[in-house]
């Protein structure tokens, strides 16, 4: 590992840590409490960035899956699969924090609303992506089939995003683009989004390295065998 790489990685960790501290301070100390939904509205400042990171992760999987199918280079599959894993983790967090917000506001944990249902479908698609890889008899076949799932499955991302406009849903609309947030709320949300984006970058580097090591173990085992 060269000095430039160590420095770059550590800089990203320091930046992510500083942004996360700033985000937590803004969520709990700076931004005013929402008049309508009360203190529970503060879940929104982490729920939205977590959803953004999930979408970003699946977009990266989509791009690198195309690259893998095109070039058949394992390094693209390594990034695609690491990002899909992170996407599943962050989508799980979306599906957990959403109902925690919904219970006190809507009175129910879950409803088969278009946004919620398509988000659950998205989670199922990428869990299938990971399962295809783990059940494949050969790593190359697993990489190829999962790349197809990663590309086709991405169709659901814009659907999830647009559900609040396409259907009548219970889920709040895209208030960020409609000017429904005060300046302090918007700034807080943007800082949280920046913090989670940096967190994603730190995690994807680590997760991709892990996948790389796994394929290295397989390669050396083949030499030994």
């Amino acid at each position: 590992m060269n000095i430039k790489r160590i420095f770059g990685e550590n800089l990203l960790i320091v930046l992510g840590f500083a942004l996360m501290i700033a985000a937590l301070y803004m969520v709990f100390m700076y931004v005013p409490t929402d008049k309508h939904t009360g203190i529970v509205q503060r879940i929104f400042y982490f729920h939205v960035p977590v959803a953004w990171v999930a979408f970003l992760a699946f977009f990266i999987t989509f791009i690198f899956s195309i690259l893998y199918l095109w070039k058949r280079d394992i390094k693209w599959d390594t990034i695609a699969s690491a990002s899909a894993e992170l996407g599943v983790i962050f989508t799980s967090l979306v599906l957990i924090t959403g109902p925690i917000w919904a219970k006190p506001v809507w009175g129910v944990w879950w409803t088969w609303d278009a946004r919620l249902t398509t988000s659950l479908v998205l989670w199922v698609i990428y869990v299938a992506y990971l399962l295809v890889r783990s059940f494949a008899s050969e790593p190359d076949r697993g990489a190829m089939f999962s790349a197809v799932v990663g590309i086709v499955g991405f169709i659901d991302v814009p659907i999830v995003f647009l559900t609040v406009n396409l259907w009548r849903t219970q889920h709040p609309t895209m208030i960020i683009f409609e000017g429904g947030l005060t300046t302090s709320m918007l700034v807080t949300l943007l800082v949280c989004i920046a913090a989670f984006t940096v967190l994603y970058l730190v995690l994807i580097k680590r997760a991709a390295r892990l996948k790389q090591m796994e394929s290295e173990v397989r390669r050396i085992k083949n030499i030994v065998a």
Partner: protein, 52 residues
């Protein structure tokens, strides 16, 4: 401070999951590195590596 428990639960779960994933990556990376070192050793020294 109504619904504080929901807020607490949401943030705790987010951090627990992220922290859990970081620990998982760290432990798995450590295990894989040990495996790679052992395998490399057995490739470099094939006679002594598999002998009973």
């Amino acid at each position: 401070m109504e619904n504080l428990a929901y807020l607490f639960a949401a943030y705790t779960i987010i951090w627990a999951v992220i922290f859990g994933y970081i620990v998982f990556i760290y432990l798995k990376q450590k295990k894989l590195q040990q495996q790679i070192d052992l395998l490399k050793q057995s490739v470099e020294e094939p006679d002594t590596g598999n002998s009973p």
